[in-house]
Subunit: 201 residues, 2 copies
C-alpha cells in the first residue's frame, strides 16, 4: 500500500497470509478482512488452532507422517495391517491415499524424491528408516506409491535396489486411464500402459 | 478423511483454514502441511499475528475502517485533506482506492449497501455517522465511490437525498472503459456511458 491506511499488526497479518499456499497478496487482504469480520467465529479459533499445532505437531519418527503423537496415529493403529507399508513422497500423498480408503496399511513418508540436479541424494530422504523397518522383519509387502514422474520412478528404482536382498514383496501402483478421464486428453505413455495392462471384462 | 490419520489438533486446523476465503477443503490441507513444514518461518509468526490482530483490531468509530487505533490511521492523518470524504461500501474498497493512490482524502465505510430484499435498511449501514460528520461542518465534498451495481446506486441515491440540505458538494465515480479493457467485452451500459462522457484529446 502506498500510504498507511491501517495498523502495522494488520499489515503484518496480510503479509503472512500471502505466504500461505493458495493465497496471494490480493486474496490475503480479502482473507484478513474476512478474519477481522469473523473475529469470534474464525479469527480467534484459527489463532488458537495454529498455536496448538505449533506447540504439538511432530513428525512421526517411524513413518514420517505429521501428527501430535509419536509414533503417529497410523503407526499405532492395530486395526491396520502393519505388515504392508505404502511408501509415499509426501504427507499429502499419505492423506490422499487415506481419503481413497482402498488400503488399510502402514505408510512410510520419504520426504521427497531423489533429484541429483537439486542436490537431493538418498541420505536426504527417509530411505534408511524404511530399510530399517523392513530389516526388523514382519513386513511382507512394500507398495511404492511415488508419483509417476521421472524423479518418482528413479526413487522407486533406487529403493527396489536397496530392498532386493530382503525377503519382501515390492509392488508399485498400476498405470492406466484415470477413472472419469477422457482418452483424448491422455498422453501416449498412459494410453500405452493402459492398453498393455488391459483386463478381461 | 475416512479414518483418522493425524491428530485432532491438525484436523481442526484444516477445518478452520478451509473457512478462509480463497481456501477450500483441498487447499486447506495443502496450506496446513505447508504451515507445519514452515513451523518456525510461517506457522509461529502467523499464529502470533492472528493473536495480535485478535487482541488489537478495532473498527474506527469515525469512518468504519479497521485498524488497531481508534480513530484510525486514515482519520488521524493530518496530511490528508479531511474535508473530502470518499464513501465506500466496504473496507476492501477503501484499501483498493488507497492502492490506486489517486486521492489524499478521508473515507467513510458504509458496511454494505441498501438491500430491502435482504432486510438491509438505512439503519443497518453507517449512514447516520456520515450525516453527522457532514453536519459537524468542515466537509466540502462527498465522493460516492460505491459499486456500480443496482444496490450500490440505490444506496448512493439515498445518501444524496439525505445530504441534499447540507452545504456539501456530492460527486460520484465516472463510468467508462476500464484502463486496459477491450471494448468487445464491455456491456452496452458501460459503452453508452463512456461515449456520453467522452473527452476531447
Amino acid at each position: 500500500m502506498a500510504k498507511r491506511v491501517t495498523g502495522p499488526e494488520i499489515e503484518k497479518l496480510i503479509q503472512l497470509l500471502a505466504k500461505v499456499p493458495g493465497l496471494g497478496p490480493r486474496s490475503a487482504r480479502r482473507a484478513a478482512l474476512h478474519l477481522i469480520k469473523k473475529r469470534e467465529q474464525l479469527m480467534g479459533p484459527l489463532s488458537h488452532a495454529l498455536g496448538e499445532a505449533y506447540d504439538k505437531v511432530k513428525v512421526c519418527s517411524r513413518c514420517g507422517n505429521v501428527d501430535t503423537i509419536d509414533p503417529c496415529t497410523v503407526c499405532t493403529d492395530d486395526r491396520r495391517d502393519q505388515s504392508v507399508i505404502i511408501v509415499v513422497e509426501d504427507v499429502s500423498d499419505l492423506w490422499a491415499l487415506e481419503r481413497a480408503g482402498a488400503m488399510n496399511a502402514a505408510y512410510h513418508v520419504l520426504g521427497g524424491t531423489l533429484s541429483p540436479l537439486d542436490g537431493v541424494g538418498p541420505d536426504d530422504l527417509n530411505i534408511k528408516g524404511l530399510i530399517d523397518r523392513v530389516s526388523e522383519g514382519g513386513i511382507r509387502e512394500i507398495i511404492l506409491a511415488v508419483n509417476a514422474t521421472v524423479e518418482g520412478q528413479a526413487t522407486a528404482h533406487y529403493i527396489t535396489d536397496r530392498l532386493t536382498e530382503l525377503p519382501v514383496k515390492i509392488t508399485r501402483l498400476a498405470h492406466g486411464v484415470p477413472v472419469g478421464g477422457e482418452l483424448d486428453y491422455l498422453d501416449e505413455g498412459t494410453l500405452t500402459a493402459a492398453l498393455r495392462a488391459r483386463t478381461v471384462i
